[in-house]
């Protein structure tokens, strides 16, 4: 029975907490079986992270020194392929992040492995690995398996699996990754601009607009509505990409997480996984969407199936 190999992720010296979620997904997949779980730490100095990944359920930590301080696709691909060759894992589990988008599919193609991305459930049906992921704007789920594949790469959706609070004392081993020709070179990180605008990560009450707002001229009335309600105005990505609101107002994976938010009103937002990454945790989500099947309703506490303009107009009149 091949092991489950988790690959840790880090950036700018910080372990990505999604690594711990991925370990939790591995523990969940292992279930009652005696499958082993190993965590590979690819880093310039793996010892920096070893102490953080020894969570309950982990049997072994594999230190893989690589000559790069930050993610480099060729180096990571070569190291993970060499690990796969040496250890013959059944499953390689990685967090579903921008870094793994940049190399997990390449590992799968080069290794001839099965591969499913953005997986939020993984289980064994007898000996058969089964993974579940979403399709069609989260409106459907698809269950997939991997006939004939001895090794399968799974990237695991973030904010789904809860990291264990308990530490374990796994064994620690060393693995020498083969040298790889790096064909990309990291130059620098550019931090997001701190605009003079509000800091939505501190806002407790938010009203966010999405593509349902239609056109730039319509944005103003929702600004006013947010002011009237005493809410902070936020938005989904297309609104920021179009330049209708500053990027600092964007909620989601590539925008901000509204960490302090208590009430989040989403108007004309479909509920993509990347948007939800920034607001799914809010206890009181109120969604207004004209599509009754929009996935935002799956996480909302209150929902209105209707037109955001009609609702906004009524709100203005009644406030």
């Amino acid at each position: 029975m091949g092991e489950i190999l988790v690959v840790a992720e880090h950036r700018q010296g910080q372990l990505n907490p999604a690594t711990l979620e991925t370990i939790a997904a591995a523990v969940n997949l292992k279930g009652g079986s005696d499958r082993k779980i190993a965590v590979a730490v690819l880093a310039e100095n793996p010892d920096d992270f070893v102490g953080q990944v020894g969570k309950a359920g982990v049997d072994e930590i594999v230190k893989v020194p690589v000559g790069v301080a930050s993610f480099q696709s060729d180096t990571y691909e070569a190291a993970v392929l060499a690990l796969a060759e040496a250890r013959k894992p059944s499953v390689i589990m990685l967090p579903h992040t921008v870094d793994t988008w940049g190399y997990a599919p390449a590992v799968a193609v080069r290794g001839g492995f099965g591969c499913a991305t953005d997986v939020f459930e993984a289980k064994y049906d007898g000996d058969e690995l089964v993974a579940v992921r979403a399709a069609y704007a989260e409106k459907l789920h698809m269950e997939v398996d991997f006939p004939g594949k001895d090794t399968v790469v799974l990237t695991v959706r973030t904010n789904v699996f809860k990291p264990s609070e308990d530490d374990a004392s796994p064994s620690v081993s060393d693995f020498a990754a083969p040298p790889a020709e790096a064909r990309t070179t990291h130059m620098k990180f550019i931090e997001p601009e701190q605009t003079g605008d509000v800091d939505i990560t501190q806002a407790e009450y938010m009203l966010s607009i999405g593509r349902g707002v239609g056109e730039e001229d319509n944005v103003e009335e929702f600004k006013e509505l947010a002011d009237t309600l005493g809410f902070t105005l936020g938005c989904s990505r297309p609104i920021a990409d179009n330049g209708w609101l500053p990027k600092s107002r964007q909620v989601g994976q590539s925008g901000k997480t509204v960490a302090k938010c208590k009430v989040y009103v989403a108007l004309g937002i479909s509920g993509s996984v990347q948007h939800m990454a920034g607001m799914k945790h809010v206890p009181n989500i109120i969604a207004v969407n004209k599509d009754a099947e929009a996935s935002i309703f799956t996480i909302a506490r209150y929902g209105i199936v209707g037109d955001m303009f009609e609702i906004a107009e009524e709100l203005r009149e009644q406030m």
């Binding site: 696709s73 993974a131 931090e191 297309p238 590539s254 901000k256 209150y302």
Partner: protein, 264 residues
């Protein structure tokens, strides 16, 4: 000098839909077919390089059935002189591994200097095609790109790669390269009426698997990325639906907001 841009026709589910008889996909009668949003950005990125230099050709390619030609015409209405469409019934339900093999053959045939794909397609959101293609070709690659500084002849391109939380990485990459292009990298143009008309006359080369030296058996032998067991509607959430006229709904909303604010 040539940039190949793989583009895709995607299915968007209707408000009410049914599954296909085998339960493995949505019944196509309940899908609206559209161009993938990301491909507007990758195609625009290629056109901008074409317009900034002499002797650059931009070629859109799609793997899809007859009516997928629409997405090629949509591209050609904005620029470019010809497109390529690959199809074979064996590609029905193809997983990313198969699409990657097909596109790798198109790259061998066309010998482009750059390949720009979308970061993902919003029907299945696999986000595997671009980086998988690069691996099949042995090319360098970079994903989720929001900036490209490059002109024909440059051995390296300087890129911006969008990371989580608004952080951006600047990196350089050896060319030829496969890039997966992210939303917001540019402002995609709209086609002019004249462009749309002209696009109808532009040649689209239809290729079969055999034309590319592949067979359905080759694809099957390599195995897919995965096999779909079933699709199903997820359980709906616990949302309490507020019913009534817009006036009633808004009144209830005000009540809820006041309650929540009061309780906080």
């Amino acid at each position: 000098m040539k940039i190949l841009v793989p583009v895709k026709q995607i299915g968007v589910v209707d408000e009410d839909f049914e599954l296909r008889g085998d339960g493995k996909d949505v019944d196509p009668d309940f899908l609206n077919f559209e161009a993938n949003e990301w491909d507007d950005y990758s195609y625009e990125a290629a056109l901008q390089i074409m317009e900034a230099a002499d002797g650059v050709e931009v070629v859109p390619v799609t793997v899809g059935p007859d009516d997928a030609e629409d997405v090629l015409r949509r591209c050609l209405a904005k620029g470019g002189e010809r497109g390529i469409r690959v199809w074979d019934d064996a590609l029905e339900d193809a997983s990313p591994a198969a699409i990657v093999q097909v596109l790798a053959k198109v790259v061998e045939k066309e010998q482009p200097d750059m390949v720009f794909t979308g970061t993902l397609s919003s029907d299945r959101s696999y986000a595997q095609t671009g980086v998988g293609l690069a691996a099949a070709l042995g090319w360098p690659h970079a994903a989720v790109i929001t900036g490209i500084e490059w002109k024909p002849g440059d051995p390296k391109a300087t890129l911006l790669r969008e990371l989580e939380g608004g952080l951006v990485e600047q990196l350089s990459v050896n060319c030829p390269v496969v890039l997966t292009i992210q939303l917001g990298i540019n402002t995609p143009r709209y086609a002019s009426l004249r462009g749309v008309k002209q696009a109808k006359e532009k040649p689209v080369e239809d290729l079969s698997l055999a034309d590319l030296g592949l067979s359905g058996d080759d694809l099957a032998a390599a195995g897919g990325s995965f096999r779909v067991r079933r699709m199903y509607k997820p359980e709906t959430g616990q949302a309490e639906l507020i019913e009534g006229t817009p006036a009633e709904q808004a009144a209830r909303l005000v009540e809820i907001i006041n309650e929540l604010k009061g309780a906080a």
